[in-house]
């Protein structure tokens, strides 16, 4: 178990700055996710931790050891790649045993540990196959077993699920989570899929342009985003520009709403985060009928089975998306009231 400390890390490629003095602490044994859109620097950071990219400035520590200038092959890491990166000329067994052979483990131990690792991912029966004879999900499991069998100090995963179809992705998610909880190997997981991040992580760092925008538990990021960017990236959100009228109260197109204004001072402007699933939809009523509501009109409706998704236009102008699990269907053109939760957050733009 290893605690990873990233200290003031910077990295440029040619003229593009990819990491800008980024600092992070990844607690030992935790499942830590770097989340962000492509180009935010998350893969570069992961490759710096792995040793494939050399940072221009800053330090990386595994526990107390500075590993910044230690080559990748001496860092004792396990890495799972997006394209699996299995050795095509080697069998499943030889792929998994590769790292143990590099460590010159005795034959008996090597066989035993390899078989154990294969059993953990349910692939004992396919040990003699070649990668080309496996399905995508099976390949990913081989890659996982290969990275885990060496008992690495840290496990690094670069979008490992993005090449799998939706169903397999769920199954692999369970397997990864189970293995990580069982072994407690410090794991750094890179993804652009917020659902994956929420489902797997102990901690998430939402990255933006080479910096960490906000770090926290999945619950904290979802419930109390500090920035519009984070609110938009974690879950989906309607963002409404508002002005803070007083602590706990905002003004929006002549209306006043009771919401959580956090630490924003009166008079400052911000964005009101309204989660589609947190808005309550009621029929009828006039504009500003009280009870923390907004008047709106239904623009379109999509029936999705468990819920119904609406696009509505506020009387004040902006359009919002609302997800309603209620039985009542609202017709296109109908005037409705949107109930706003007083716990809704206002964030700095």
């Amino acid at each position: 178990m290893t605690r990873i400390t990233i200290d003031q890390l910077s990295k440029r490629f040619d003229k593009q700055t990819v990491l800008q003095g980024l600092s992070l602490v990844i607690e030992e044994g935790s499942f830590f996710t770097l989340l962000g859109p492509s180009g935010c620097g998350k893969t570069t950071l992961l490759r710096c931790i792995a040793g494939f990219n050399v940072p221009d400035a800053g330090r990386i520590l595994f526990d107390g050891d500075a590993v910044t200038s230690v080559p990748a092959y001496e860092r004792n890491i396990g890495m799972v790649f997006q394209d699996y990166a299995l050795f095509p000329d080697k069998t499943v067994f030889d792929n998994v045993a590769y790292g143990l052979r590099a460590r010159k483990r005795p034959a008996e131990e090597l066989r035993q540990r390899t078989e154990e690792a294969l059993a953990q991912v349910g692939l004992q029966a396919l040990a003699a196959r070649f990668p080309a004879q496996l399905s995508g999900g099976q390949r990913q499991r081989v890659a996982l077993a290969r990275a885990m069998v060496i008992k690495p100090r840290v496990l690094l995963m670069d979008e490992p699920l993005s090449n799998l179809d939706a169903k397999l992705r769920l199954a692999m998610r369970d397997m990864i989570l189970e293995l990580q909880r069982a072994t407690r190997i410090t794991t750094v997981f890179v993804t652009h899929d917020q659902e994956e991040a929420l489902a797997l992580s102990d901690q998430i760092a939402v990255m933006q342009e080479g910096r960490v925008a906000q770090q926290g538990t999945p619950q904290a990021l979802y419930a109390t985003p500090q920035w519009a960017y984070v609110a938009d990236f974690i879950g989906s959100a309607n963002l409404l520009p508002v002005t803070v009228a007083a602590p706990g109260r905002v003004a929006l197109a002549g209306l006043q709403l009771d919401v959580d204004t956090g630490s924003l001072a009166a008079g400052s402007s911000g964005q009101l985060v309204l989660r589609p699933e947190a808005l309550r939809l009621k029929s009828g009523g006039a504009q500003g009928a009280g009870g923390n509501t907004l008047g709106a009109r239904v623009l379109s409706r999509q029936y999705l089975g468990a819920k119904t998704s609406y696009r509505v236009a506020l009387d004040a102008g902006p359009e919002l998306r609302v997800e309603d699990t209620g039985a009542a269907a609202h017709a296109v053109g109908e005037a409705v009231q949107l109930g706003v939760d007083t716990a809704s957050r206002v964030v700095a733009a």
């Binding site: 092959y73 004792n76 890495m79 790649f81 095509p88 990275a147």
Partner: protein, 552 residues
């Protein structure tokens, strides 16, 4: 210790530098020496006197003009033959179509010196067919000169057009044609307006390859050229007649040849970059069976083409076992004398060829794999330089390379003439661009992540290259090695310039025996040479389950 650790983590910079150094000494430096020599004036200063003399001598001027004319004529003929053939093969089924599979092997792998000798034995002044026609009382036009040159070179080089266009046709998305037809264009208009424009780049690129090959051609030019002066032959004669003398004239002719080839290659590069068509991969239309009479026409045509392409093989083997007195072959009269002489009395060329070609295969393949790995996978600031240096040999014909190496390494700090090293060197240098190109196309298909996976599991980069990359490239490496072997052992134009007593190889022996009119002995060496080429080319791919031409 720290230096060692750094080298282990990133050994590629130093290796790139080493490769660059090798190429600088053995490729760039000789061309520089050659160019400087061409600019030497009588008083020791620099002048253009050499070039002025070339242009003022009618024979040399004519040779330059002839070379361009010949290259244009052969290129036109190969396009006229190769494009329709590729279209018919890609789109139609007809009896005996599978015979065409032997064409690439037959024409690319048979040494030109043997092609030249065979046509000479069949259609030359004393040739089998010529004599037969003469006995019938028919007038026999001379085969030497333009007829023989264009005829034999077309038969050797059309394969380049055929293979290139065939590959383009197979990558062509048939839905484009269907789209055109659905929009109301007739099939003929569709071929003209949709198919042809997308094939044009492939035709142009390969036509320019043929152009450069004709300019650099030595064996056929010198054996069948007759009274037609050509650049490569004139350059060679000048070299042979004035070794040790004033090298200005031969250098000037060589530089003109380089300029010709380099111009063609620049046009090619421009064409590739400008006319590149990005085809979304689609399904190529299935081949259609041809109706009876058309099928018959194609079958006859293809059979004739295969027969003509394979004729040199037959001729050289029959010739090897035929009674021969000087240039007179007693066709129909079997004899083992020539074979006996080649194999037991004068076997030195065979042993030399085996030794040089084997060494060149090992060294050349290793260098090609390393260089392409450095260019494709380990990019650094030096990579573009290496990338450029590797293609330089394409601009130099064999004759010119030979002259440049002799001028550079005859005296001075590094004397290589007269050593086996220089023979191996010309083989390696001439084949390097092709070897690197093939290995690179393979490397682009190997994801970098498998190397990183290995490194992350605790294996150093160098050992990763050996344990992970090389095994994956095995097939490509064997293909490259087999082609390296086949082309090295048949190399004539450069080795005939740099060789000296005791270093004679089979192609050189054949060339010299033909020159002195001993066709029987030449055939015997030819038979041995062809056997040593065909056995690995035909047998090894089957044994190793690789496809020699898939990487072309």
């Amino acid at each position: 210790m720290r230096a060692l650790a750094r080298w282990l983590a990133w050994p590629w910079g130093l290796l790139t530098l080493l490769c660059l150094l090798v190429l600088a000494v053995f490729v760039v430096l000789p061309i520089g020496v050659l160019t400087l020599n061409s600019l030497k004036g009588a008083d020791g200063g620099y002048s253009l006197a050499g070039f002025a003399k070339v242009l003022a001598t009618p024979e040399y001027l004519q040779a330059i003009i002839n070379t361009v004319l010949l290259a244009s004529a052969v290129t036109t003929c190969t396009v006229a033959l190769g494009v329709p053939l590729a279209y018919v093969v890609a789109r139609h089924d007809f009896p005996l179509k599978r015979w065409l599979a032997v064409l690439p092997v037959a024409t690319i792998v048979i040494p030109e010196v043997i092609v030249g000798q065979s046509w000479l034995m069949v259609l030359g002044n004393n040739g089998l067919v010529s004599n037969f026609l003469r006995d019938l009382g028919l007038p026999v036009p001379s085969f030497y000169g333009w007829t023989g040159l264009i005829f034999s070179m077309t038969l050797v080089y059309y394969t380049y057009i055929y293979l290139g266009v065939l590959a383009a046709l197979r990558g062509f998305d048939g839905q484009l044609e269907e789209a055109s037809l659905s929009l109301g264009a007739t099939p003929a208009a569709t071929r003209w307006r949709v198919l042809l424009p997308t094939l044009a780049p492939a035709v142009l690129v390969n036509a320019l390859v043929v152009f450069t090959l004709v300019v650099g051609n030595f064996a056929l030019s010198s054996m069948l050229g007759g009274q037609v002066p050509l650049l490569s032959v004139q350059t060679y004669s000048l070299f042979v007649s004035e070794v040790g003398g004033d090298p200005v004239l031969q250098s000037s002719l060589s530089v003109i040849s380089i300029i010709l080839v380099a111009t063609a290659l620049l046009v090619q590069k421009w064409a590739v970059e400008r006319r590149q068509v990005h085809m979304t991969p689609g399904r190529a239309p299935a081949a259609q069976a041809l109706r009876s009479w058309q099928g018959g026409v194609f079958t006859v045509g293809v059979t004739a083409l295969v027969a003509l392409s394979l004729m040199p093989l037959v001729a050289v083997f029959v010739g090897a076992f035929t009674e021969a007195r000087g240039p007179v072959m007693h066709w129909g009269k079997a004899s083992l004398r020539s074979m006996e002489r080649a194999l037991s009395l004068e076997p030195e060329p065979i042993f030399n060829s085996l030794f040089f070609a084997a060494t060149a295969t090992v060294v050349g393949t290793a260098l090609a794999v390393l260089v392409s790995y450095l260019i494709v996978k380990k990019k650094s600031r030096l990579s573009p330089l290496l990338d450029a240096a590797v293609v330089v040999p394409l601009t130099i014909s064999g004759t010119v390379l030979g002259i440049a190496l002799v001028q550079s390494f005859n005296t001075g700090p590094l004397v290589l003439t007269g050593t086996a090293f220089i023979m191996v060197l010309v083989y390696v240098v001439r084949r390097l661009p092709f070897g690197v190109r093939n290995a690179s196309s393979m490397l682009y298909n190997i994801p970098t992540s498998i190397e990183e996976a290995s490194i992350s599991l605790g294996v150093t980069p160098l050992r990763t290259f050996v344990q992970v990359v090389l095994p994956v490239m095995k097939g490509a490496i064997f293909s490259a090695a087999i082609l390296m072997w086949a082309t090295s052992i048949s190399e004539l134009s450069a080795s005939v310039v740099v060789y000296s007593a005791g270093l004679e190889t089979m192609p050189i022996a054949i060339f010299r025996q033909v020159d002195t009119g001993r066709l029987g002995l030449a055939s015997a060496y030819g038979a041995a040479l062809v056997t040593l080429i065909l056995v690995p080319v035909l047998v090894l791919p089957k044994l190793l389950r690789i496809n020699l031409f898939s990487l072309k």
